[in-house]
Amino acid sequence: MDIRLELGGLLLVALGAVACVDPDDKASNVHDLRVLGMAVERPELMAPTCEFTAEALEVFTEQVTFRALLVDPAGEGRSLDYALWACADPEDTICEDASQRLLLAEGTTTAGELALPIRPGATVLPDGSLLLDKVRQADPYQGYGGLRMPLVLNVRAGGEAIFAMKRMVFSCPAVPGMEANQQPVLQGLTVEGAAWDDGALPTLTGKGTFVVRANDVSALEESYVVPGLRKEAVSLKEAWTITWHATLGEFTPEETGSADFNGQPGRHRTEWEPPEKGAVAQEVTFWAVVRDGRGGSSWLIRKARWTP
């Protein structure tokens, strides 16, 4: 076990060195075309049975709503071209394999929330096979933990291009107690201890930092059961993460929540810091994107007026 400790020590030193290097481009600072989040409403389609029956197929082929949070702060409202693909291989992050993909939607839009009705479970490949079946074949676990169909959104504007992937979850009650996932929804934010409601424009003055918190969501984090690899079932509880973004300055930390290696969830508390110099008073847009760790996601948008 000595090598484990040695490499761990080396990793710590490297991480310490990383902490001393400050890349200019921060994930929490949104300054160009980005996809900040994607969601499918409903986040999980659970068939009533694990047999491949018409009843199961009926659930899997339901229409759902695909949502994407597109931001383009420097785009000045320009048009964004998009194309939404479904494909089979979860490692094909851009749906490159033409024989195993299908175009679900395409068009133009502008920054904001893109919402598209889709029925990916019903898609059939040119060779006549059901895409969902190809997903199972491409899955190294052969669908043991549920089927995850990659949905890839390609967004283009000017010279910028993004491929953004989200897995759509299809499952069945393989073990007792399994229930379909519910979409995580944040219950509001506070800034410097005051409620930060949708449509409000609080004023933030000075260099900060400004403490931003999410209202307690622990009661909404679902307990759930999944099939076990060593035993029949494993009990889990969601530990949501929130990723924080702003059109000015940066957040530290940029992501809160989740359960680490030690099994302890974190607090949804972060600090927003405006730039030290070069910025003028302006309206700043903030985004908080929540993920439940099993495919569910949603977001809140807030604004504030900042003066140096």
């Binding site: 000595d2 040695e6 992050t93 676990y141 549920g146 359960a259 290696f261």
Partner: protein, 904 residues
């Protein structure tokens, strides 16, 4: 003319032999690993002196002189070489060398075997006094006498000085005495003023005046100043070797090589065949092998943890070592359990003359070393060290309201050795049995506690780890005639504890092992070696942890949930044993050594066995030149804990294997320069890598072994070592130049495994499908230059300069952003696997030491400065969050470390 000459031999006693590795030799009985330090069991005796011719010009001018010489005595007692340590001129050097070349000695023995040695010898040229007048002899007999008696002590270290000549005056007929093994002497001289002259090998000429009274005994202590480095005399002896490369690092080199903080293991990184490890890590990356594939032994017993926490100093206290033997490959059959190299640390035997010790304090820790004789034949040495950074950290850690931050790193280690059986000044009669041995205990303890949290933070973290080990080993060496047996039993106890939130693990490893190495010199043409090497380990694991995704369930890519706790208490019993045999066949200048090591491993129900045949060849072209080559198979068992049940381990693991071959030539130039060039080729296969392939189980589930024997790699290259040793204690400088030209590949056979086992994702990073390519540690050019210079007046300065090729990296291409919304991570798009490199590394480290010598102790103040010109070297390349640009992680900036050491 010759009647004018008085040439006296101040032949050093065996304990003062200053012997550099002597010439090229045929392979002989290899010193067993458990008793690696050579012992001169029979010193050479001058049996045929020859008078030197007094230089005519010097005689005319009435000059006298003492010529200090290094004599190389061959195995048969003949003088094979003579070199002056410093010229005195006036023809004295040439005359002394001409005479000494005709000397004849009785053969010296090292570890009971005739061996070439070097001795320091002082040849005195004195002028004969006029013949005494008639009746003077009778008057002298009746004249009153005075007695001068006392002890010769090395100034600073207080070691006793044996074999020194004490004289009253410089006249040819002046009375003189030779100090015994305890440095004692007695001289009877006429009363009055005595101009004392003490001549001792390795010490400056000592002169003083004593007024002696008739019929009285004057007791004195004379403190002799060592001639060279103010604190240490390097004691070396040649050991025969069959290996193509064995590099020995002395304690002085281990402590004084700049940039290593006096850490003995890190000094090895400056040798050929060892790639530079990142930052100040002490990893040994030998001839293309990976970390963990080079075995580090302490007197033949494997050290479980090589370094203190977070890449700190090695657990081997530099004060306790005698030397380090480093085998980058092609090592003997008595060594196993490694597919890379082997490092064997030889510990220090306690002093037999009197109590000595030292105390050392530096930035991180403080420690002491103590050695003393207990009774005749029994000596003890002990050392201990403790860090105190835990007491300093609170002063520098930030304190914020609403936050708790506490970091408590503590480490300590100890070594204790008791030697018995070797009585001072005794040499066993030929044919009689000789038993010596020692008992040694050593261990280490590392603790790290980190607590952070509070309402003003985003996460509470509580980490508490502790790693301990203890070893007790014995050593019994039996020698009789041409037979030598070394038996080394040992027991060990290791603890590993970690508490990190809900993750709690307590491991206990109890181990028991033994080595037996027997050597028999059948004839001058044949030497046999055989023995066994067995090791048993009882591993008890107790772990409670949140069920990890990928091993307990199929995880959804993204943030981890709070999992139910699992609790496992597996117990694993592992045995690994080996029988080995070697034979040296000598055919004139050729020596052929075939060897075989048979390995057997049993871990719970798994049995593995294999044979490792090895072969060494040596052609001794001359006393100074030898060509050597080797080839063979080497194996390393997987660690016992890796046999834990799937998916946390793999109970079906097999031996890791390697084929190693090398060919080299060594050339000795003069008395102080050695050059060797070695080419090597290694191929590793069936190495343990992680993870294994994902496979279905009979119950419809899936399992992914954490480890699998699918690792492969190869390396080839050329190593050059040019080493300058100190010719004598007065030689000012030493050092070496090390250069390696190499190519190393590493990876795994077969396709990249799929699956989501987070415990096994330590395969080659930065690739989509490639699993094999340049080793992440590959460095085409590795140049190291080390030099130490004694300025005088207690000042010593040293430097280490390194220039290496940057390590391989996989370049980014980034045609577009690829964002995984479920994990909130971007995905990289890479170019060809490990087709780029970081920029070259260059760094200069400097060490300056100032010493003060007092009669009974010495004090040294030193500063070791890493990266003195603050080069901004790139250690790693990370990327920005979108994988658009490289973020270069710099290495250690300029880092001075101040230390103080007191010795007595």
């Amino acid at each position: 003319m010759s009647s004018n000459v008085n040439a006296r031999a101040a032949l050093a006693a065996a304990s003062l032999l200053v012997a550099a590795p002597v010439l090229a030799q045929a392979p002989q009985a290899d010193a067993p690993p458990a008793a690696a330090q050579p012992t001169i069991t029979r010193p050479p005796q001058l049996v045929q002196p020859v008078e030197a011719q007094y230089p005519p010009e010097a005689l005319k001018e009435g000059l006298t002189a003492s010529v200090r010489l290094i004599i190389t005595i061959a195995e048969d007692g003949a003088v094979s070489d003579v070199q002056p340590t410093e010229a005195v001129g006036h023809g004295f050097d040439e005359a002394a060398i001409a005479a000494v070349r005709q000397f004849r000695f009785s053969p010296a023995e090292v570890d009971g075997v005739p061996a070439p040695v070097q001795v320091e010898y002082v040849y005195h040229f004195t002028l004969e006094a006029p013949p005494p007048a008639e009746g003077t002899a009778a008057a002298e007999a009746e004249a009153p006498k005075a007695t001068l008696t006392g002890t010769l002590i090395s100034r600073g270290s207080r070691s006793r000085v044996p074999g020194a000549t004490v004289r009253c005056g410089d006249e040819a007929d002046a009375a003189e005495a030779l100090s015994d093994a305890d440095g004692r002497f007695t001289l009877e001289v006429p009363p009055g003023e005595c101009a004392v002259r003490v001549i001792a090998s390795g010490f400056q000429l000592y002169q003083t005046k004593e007024t002696l009274k008739a019929n009285e005994t004057t007791e004195v202590n004379f403190y002799l100043a060592p001639a060279g480095s103010p604190f240490e005399t390097v004691v070396r002896s040649a050991r025969p070797k069959k290996e193509v490369v064995r590099r020995t690092v002395t304690r002085e080199e281990a402590q004084k090589t700049p940039g290593t903080f006096g850490d003995p293991i890190r000094v090895l990184q400056a040798l050929p065949g060892v790639a530079r490890a990142p930052f100040i890590s002490g990893d040994l990356l030998v001839r293309g092998s990976n970390p963990g594939q080079t075995a580090t032994l302490m007197d033949g017993v494997r050290i479980p943890n090589l370094f203190h926490l977070l890449g700190g100093p090695s657990v081997v206290n530099a004060e306790f070592i005698d030397s380090l033997d480093f085998y980058p490959g092609g090592y003997g059959s008595q060594y196993g359990r490694a597919v890379g190299g082997v490092v064997d640390v030889t510990t220090r035997k306690g002093a037999a003359d009197t109590v000595h010790g030292s105390v050392k304090v530096d930035l991180l820790d403080a420690g002491f070393f103590l050695e003393a004789p207990v009774t005749d034949g029994i000596s003890v040495a002990a050392s201990a060290r403790r860090s105190y950074i835990d007491t300093l950290l609170p002063a520098v850690l930030p304190k914020n309201e609403g936050e708790t931050l506490s970091i408590v790193p503590v480490y300590w280690d100890y070594q204790l050795r008791v030697d018995f059986g070797a009585k001072r000044g005794t040499t066993p009669e030929p044919g009689t049995a000789r038993n010596t041995g020692y008992i040694m205990a050593f261990g280490s303890d590392d603790k790290l506690k980190l607590v952070t949290g509070g309402e003003e933070t985003d996460r509470d973290i509580s980490l508490d780890t502790r790693t301990r080990f203890h070893r007790v080993k014995g050593d019994w060496t039996y020698r009789k005639g041409d037979f030598t047996s070394v038996f080394t039993p040992y027991v060990g106890l290791d603890y590993f504890d970690i508490s990190f939130g809900q993750y709690i693990e307590h491991d206990v490893i109890s181990s028991l092992g033994a080595r037996e190495v027997m050597t028999l010199d059948v004839s001058s043409l044949l030497t046999l070696r055989t023995g066994l090497d067995v090791y048993f380990e009882h591993v008890k694991v107790d772990v409670q942890a949140p069920a990890p995704g990928g091993t307990e369930y199929v995880p959804f890519p993204g943030n981890d949930p709070v999992s139910e706790l699992i609790h496992e208490e597996p117990v694993i019993n592992g045995f690994d044993g080996a029988l080995f045999a070697e034979a040296d066949f000598k055919f004139g200048a050729f020596t052929v050594t075939p060897g075989l090591r048979g390995n057997f491993q049993r871990v719970n129900g798994t049995r593995n066995w294999l044979l490792d045949p090895r072969l060494w060849l040596r052609y001794t072209m001359s006393e100074r030149t030898a060509i050597k080559g080797s080839l063979g198979l080497y194996s390393q068992p997987a660690d016992t804990y890796q046999f834990i049940f799937s998916p946390y381990g793999n109970p079906l693991l097999d031996y890791q294997r390697a084929f190693q071959t090398s060919l080299g030539v060594e050339q000795r130039l003069g008395e102080t320069w050695n050059v060797d060039v070695t080419g090597f080729f290694n191929r590793r296969f069936e190495n343990v890598v992680s993870p294994g392939d994902l496979r279905p189980t009979s119950n419809g589930s899936f399992v992914q072994d954490r480890f699998v024997n699918m690792g492969i790699g190869k390396a080839y290259g050329v190593e050059l070592m040019v080493k300058k040793e100190r010719a004598s204690a007065t030689d000012k400088w030493s050092g070496w130049l090390s250069y390696t030209l190499s190519h190393a590949e590493d990876g795994r056979a077969g396709a990249k495994p799929r699956g989501d086992n987070p415990l096994g994702q330590d395969g080659p990073p930065g690739s989509d499908e490639e699993t094999y390519g340049l080793s992440p540690w590959d460095q085409t050019h590795i140049l190291t230059l080390v030099a130490n210079y004694i300025l005088g007046n207690g000042w010593e300065v040293g430097g280490r300069f390194r220039l290496t090729t940057g390590r391989p990296t996989t370049p980014l291409t980034h045609p577009h952003d690829i964002y995984d919304s479920d994990t909130n991570n971007y995905q990289p798009t890479y170019g060809p696997f490990r087709s780029a490199r970081t920029s070259s590394f260059h760094q200069l480290d400097v060490r300056v030491e100032k010493g003060w010598r007092f009669d009974n102790w010495t004090l040294a103040l030193y500063m070791d400065v890493q990266n003195i010109y603050n080069a901004e070297n790139v250690e790693f390349i990370f990327n920005d969050y979108r994988y658009r640009n490289d973020v270069k992680i710099p290495g250690i900036p300029i880092l001075p470390v101040l230390g103080v050491k007191g010795s007595f």
